[in-house]
Symmetry: C2
Subunit: 385 residues, 2 copies
Amino acid sequence: MSVTAPLGFEAAGVAAGLKSTGSPDVAVVVNRGPRKAGAAVFTSNRAKANPILWSQEAVKDGVIEAVVLNSGGANCFTGSFGFQTSHLTAEKAAELLGVSAGDVVVCSTGLIGTGDEEFRRKVLTGVEAGVSVLSRDGGQAAAEAIMTTDTMAKTAVVSRDGWTIGGMAKGAGMLAPGLATMLVVITTDADLDAAEADAALRGATARTFDRVDSDGCMSTNDQVTLLASGASGIRPDPAVFAEALAELSGVLAKKLQQDAEGASHEITIEVTNAATEAEAVEVGRSVARNNLFKAAIFGNDPNWGRVLAAIGTTSAQFDPYAVDVWMNGVRVCAAGGPDRPREEVDLTPRATDLLIDLKAGSATATILTNDLTHDYVHENSAYSS
Amino acid sequence: MSVTAPLGFEAAGVAAGLKSTGSPDVAVVVNRGPRKAGAAVFTSNRAKANPILWSQEAVKDGVIEAVVLNSGGANCFTGSFGFQTSHLTAEKAAELLGVSAGDVVVCSTGLIGTGDEEFRRKVLTGVEAGVSVLSRDGGQAAAEAIMTTDTMAKTAVVSRDGWTIGGMAKGAGMLAPGLATMLVVITTDADLDAAEADAALRGATARTFDRVDSDGCMSTNDQVTLLASGASGIRPDPAVFAEALAELSGVLAKKLQQDAEGASHEITIEVTNAATEAEAVEVGRSVARNNLFKAAIFGNDPNWGRVLAAIGTTSAQFDPYAVDVWMNGVRVCAAGGPDRPREEVDLTPRATDLLIDLKAGSATATILTNDLTHDYVHENSAYSS
């Protein structure tokens, strides 16, 4: 069901020839209203793809009528020609839907530097094909059309009293692997205005998608878009909506982590008793980005020394001789020294829990990451070749 | 010749049983004077190993009589027992050499968390054995005793008019791989006082060892030590000495890069026309630490999009649509768009040159790094298992 689970939305996914495999590669999601509220968050990478440059402007008025997404080409670093392509894509969809081009956002994913005349022609053809088959049950097809190296379509639905949130995602993290630009579209039939949608979206992404850090590499094309149709006729309590949106975002974030390219472990890094939440995040990210730690987990090696070495590179408050480290429930390091024998840690399951107790305060944060594997190296070295 | 090339130095390398292979694992370098000036720079990791904690204090008076180094155990996160081991190591060497323990610095490398009673006993025995075989031609043996995953001993000698600088190094970077804590000892028979030695060392390391960034992982044990004996009787011009020391450090840094664990390419990242040198370094490091770029080079893939995506994560001044990127002499990206075809780039040689022209000023910096390979993952996942 994905993005068509809530009332007021139609979607489609079609093959436009962008992917050499002939798989679906253009998705269209349309908000039929009555409300057309929208919000979006974008990559913080300063090298932004053309669809990002377009969508940042389009979303400013808080109205989003439709989202057009393509896989098979990032349209990034393709110059003014590439920006015109994003613009023309929005115009084509707007013309077919009878709306304003300024209310159509565009998302692209694929190889940076791809966005020539052939790309433009295929995307525009795809928009036409997609709009012609829009339907109330097109959510799954749309989710499949945005896949690149994803091994499965990623969707989620959360319902509350009389209203629903649906979502689709592709990729593996806001700070993401190879082709795995994170594109997410979330829809709801709750009745929200643009400011409410924006606040809820920023709150949810900050603690979910922003904390997936599969390989520390930030994409040029990441975008998370929320559309609210108001079709349920219900105005939810903002706190309840925020909680439901965070739940849905968390489910999609977990699916991104579980499908990260080449990974053999999903590592949940929980940092507790930090002085501040920001420091907990900093510590978690430092470990999530430490290749030595990630390679050790690939080898089922509970190498806690690499955890402490990573923490030592941060500016977080901590005493190296106070820190405890737990792996899969075993305290391997107590007060900055060896504790339980490494043999007690079973790292054969994919799900890996790392708990870092900083003993420096009471704040907590959780970062989701993956191990560094042969398959990661292979997939990311062979991609564009 | 390494550290015994200059006049006034003796060295030794012996096997003390710290390495299970029986290879040499304890090195001693002694300054016989007449001058005993010394300086050292240390890892900026806040989780510092016990030998670092000891040596930071020992070097404060600007006098270094001797350096004791061991492989086969990092003596890091081994608590107060481990600190006492470093202290006892210095005391043992001092007693045998008839000097003050406070003038003996200690360096260790190996697995974090290793530093028990057996480790202590073996190190102390090794110091005794080492001091007993100190000689004017012991430099090579010392260089071999500090190797861990290094495939070759790394030494260098630079001579100027009447004086010489010699050095030995192990590891692969100030921000270094697995076992590859960077330990460097540099000796000179030039007549320097401690302040001159300190200034020259800081200047040289900042532009050489600090710019080797093989895998972005900062060790807990890195130390670069300079000892000046004054035995040549010549007080060099400070600028000439600084230049010679930078040359020697550059040679050793290049050897560290060339021996990085599991690498199949040595990548030289030159950033030109940055607004400031610091920004050039920031840009170079962002690319050096980008796993996607590094995996692409492993696959001989001139994926310039990943270079621009990495630059976009920095705070350096640049216009994404002004940047040029060259790989091995081919301009693959001009003004932020595709330029020469990727097929023109030959990435089969190990030596890989990446040139990033930011068009934002006139500052330049060069970062040395390596690609991300299957062997890197293998070596770093199998290390302590």
